[in-house]
Each structure stands twice: as C-alpha cells, then as structure tokens.
C-alpha cells in the first residue's frame, strides 16, 4: 500500500462521486483518515487508514499490502465497494439501499439470491443491473447485491457478511 498520486486520488474521487458527490472527501474527513492504494494487476486496491499508519507505510522497509481498512477496488474507473466500505457509507446513500424483510436476512447471509418480495423497501436510485447496499430492517448493512430483472432472483448477492464465517478465517 502507499499514498495515491494526485492523479490517482482524483480518479478514485471521481469513481466515488458516481455514487454520490464528495463521497471520498466525506469519508476522509469524518474518519480523519487518508486513502491508501495498491496497484494489483491493472486495478487499484483501496484502503482507509489513520494518518499515522499512512506515514508508517510510506517509511516502511518492506511492502505493506495489508494496511488500513479495505475500501474495495477501482476497476475500469468504477468503484467496487468492500463489505467494510459498505458499512461506512450506506447510511449516506439511502437512495442506493435495499432493505430486506426480517425473514430474508438469514438467507442473504448464507449468500442466497432473494426474490423481489423479500425486499421491504428500496431507495429511489436502485436500478436493475446496478450494485446496491443491502440492509436489515434496522438499517444495518448486511452486504452488497446486484438488482436483476429476474423476479425470482431479483437480489443477487455480491458480498455478504456471512463471508466472515464461510471464508474469513
């Protein structure tokens, strides 16, 4: 990981802006943190780190690929949020949120696709083909999912908290 160049920071900010204007700046300000990046086979891995950690990373005698809180990655100039980023920003992006009925929470956490009727509420900017934040009825983030046009599998999990049990270690 390292601090981004000015151009990289602008690229990331633009990708975050596509979700809502000023999102990256808001993240950095609210959490008094800085962006770190790591080039990884044509994509940019992103992390949010304390300022002191960022300084240590820059002064480190070896590469530090696992520093800070993972924010996801930039692929083809589009931001793919991580689970951890979803927890930080979903509350600011209510228009991109799918709120599940309580009985749909467990199936989602098992990584299962859901029906449209499993969704209690959806924000005004939810759209087929796009990735959205998924929350429980209390508004707590459960993961990310893609809306599809298939009513029986209308909510396709992209990432869910159940991953921590299945593969997180």
């Amino acid at each position: 990981m390292r601090r981004p160049t000015h151009q990289e920071h602008a690229q990331v900010a633009a990708a975050f802006d596509a979700w809502t204007p000023g999102l990256l700046g808001r993240l950095e300000t609210v959490h008094a943190a800085v962006l770190l990046v790591d080039e990884n086979r044509g994509r940019l891995d992103l992390a949010l780190a304390s300022a002191e950690l960022a300084a240590d990373v820059e002064a480190a005698p070896w590469d530090m690929p696992h520093a800070g809180l993972p924010l996801g990655r930039l692929v083809d100039e589009a931001w793919r949020p991580s689970l951890e980023a979803a927890a930080l920003v979903a509350g600011w992006l209510a228009d991109r949120v799918l709120t599940l009925r309580s009985e749909a929470v467990q199936p989602f956490l098992y990584g299962r696709a859901l029906r449209l009727r499993d969704v209690a509420r959806q924000g005004p900017r939810t759209a087929i083909g796009h990735v959205h934040f998924v929350t429980d009825p209390q508004g707590r983030v459960l993961g990310l999912a893609r809306r599809t046009g298939d009513e029986a599998q209308a909510v396709q999990p992209v990432a869910d908290l159940g991953w921590y049990l299945r593969e997180g270690g």
């Binding site: 959490h31 304390s50 956490l109 707590r140 159940g162 997180g168 270690g169």
Partner: protein
Amino acid sequence: MVEPIRVPASPSLRRWADAHGYSNEILARWERFYPDLVGLVHALETPPPRHLRLNALKADPDATLATLRAKGFRLAPTALAACWRIEEAPFAPGATEEYLMGHYHLQDLSAQLAVEALDPRPGERVLDLAAAPGGKTIQAAQAMRNTGSLHAFDPDTRRAQGLRSNLARCGVRNAAVHVRDGQAARDLDRPAHRVLVDAPCTGEGVIQRDPTRKRLHLGEYAACARTQRELLHAATAALAPGGVLVYSTCTLAPEENELQVADALQTLPLRLEPLPTTLTDLRLDGRPLLPGLTDVAGTHLPPEIRHTAHTLPHLHGCLGFYLARFRKEDA
C-alpha cells in the same frame, strides 16, 4: 538458556495423572508451584466460561447488549468494562448478525488483561508481535480510537488471513498486518511507544479448550522458551527508550513465565513495572491476580517479579494467563 524444571511425581500423583489423562510431569510441577492442585484440575476438566468484548469502534456497546439480550443471550458483567460473560446463549455467539457486523468479538477475559496492562493511547505506534487471530489487536485499536499505528505480525499465511478478516470485520483502520515473524519488528525504521509480546507458548492455561496440552513433555517448555526469548529481544530492539513492553502467555510453566522475565531483566535494558492499578485493583471471582513466583524450584528470583501476575482457572473463573509489564531504560 532456560532448562526445564523436573519435579518427581509421587505414586499417588502418577495414578491421578493417569486417571485424568495428564503427563506425570505436569501435575507434579503444578503441585509444586500453585495452590490447590485438586481445584485446578477440577476447573480444567470443566467447560471454560465464555466471554465477549464489546467493540465501540462499530456500535454503541449498550445497544449491542440490548440487542443480544433481546435475542435471548444472558450476559453478566465482569470486572472489565467492555467484557461480558456469556451465561446462556440460545445459539452460537459467533453466528449472530451483530458478531458478523463486528459489534463484539469473542475473547476470554484473561486474554483481555494483556492490552489493559499495555495501556495503548491514541496516536501512538504500537506493535503486536504474535497477533493472530487478532483479539488483542482489536482491543488495542479500540483503546487507540483507531488512531496512531498498530503493526500486527504473524508468520503463518492462513492465520494472518484470519487476523486481517477479524480486523476488517471490527472496523480497524489503524493497523497493518505483516505476514512475518514478530522478530522482523526489529527492522522497522520507527521505534514503537509500546510492544505486546503475547508469545506462542505451551498453552497449559487453555487445557479446557485444548486437552492435548495435558500430555506436554519437558522438551516443549524449552523449545517455547527459546522462541519467546527471541521475540523479547526483537521487541526490545523495536521499542523506544522509555517505552512499555508487555509480555504475556497462556501457560503456567515458570520456564516460559517468571524465568523468562528474570532472563530478560538480566540480558535486556528493561526493568519491571507494577501493573496498572486497573489490574492490581482487579478482583476476578472475588480474588486478586496471583503474583508471579519469586521462588521457582529453589531458585530465588528478583523480588520485583512479584509485580507480574497470573490468572488461574480455579481461582479467577477464566483461562490461565500470565503477564509482565516492562519499561525500556532510557538511552
């Protein structure tokens, strides 16, 4: 070099060891070093208590408690503010949404004492030299309010993956995970304010979780002691003058505890400090922590070793643990 302490076992002790699946050496040593061997073995034969630690980095602790209680968990307070004993669980505590969201993590009360002793502060640079699976690292990040820098080491790729996952789940953003042995910490350019060496050990204190530890042989104590010594030396090299080093284990073996500390006092620019009053005033199951042993099999150790402390399963209602707090001499 620390030699394993050999204590002969009486015939009656041998029979008792056989009956409970222990090696003769372990019971003979415990009988020599600790009070109430019968009580200790009885405690080790019963399921250990379970504890959780609330994570204020991700959720309001009171809200988390209320949610868990509404789900049927019965939780009791302990002497540590964020640590709760799980008295009844309707289902696995590691399977709730709240656990997955990082609102709490599962960690024995005894293990939480190490970071209490370390007392990391916001803005500091702190090293955790044997960090996986990450409970103490998360606790340190909480105390540091996600500021400063935390460097967590583990040489095992799979364990390091688990460490990273736990840190991410709990919202830690001031930490870097290094898939390296903790000895690599000596190569970091910037000295640390505090270093935690929660050392790999023979694990006698966690027999309730891992009964294979009942059959330890004497060679294992010496092998662990060698690794611990190397970590202590690396930790001291990475620590700034005036910085704090906490050494901890989950074993009852003096070779890995008091004798290791005595060796450090002789060979490293460290002096022992009393533990913080949050620990010296602590009462677990109504009892204070047990002071470190200053007489080990006829060897008299420096009196300041009484500033180190043990928890024992039959006395304190938690797993067995040992900790010592050092201060590095000023340059």
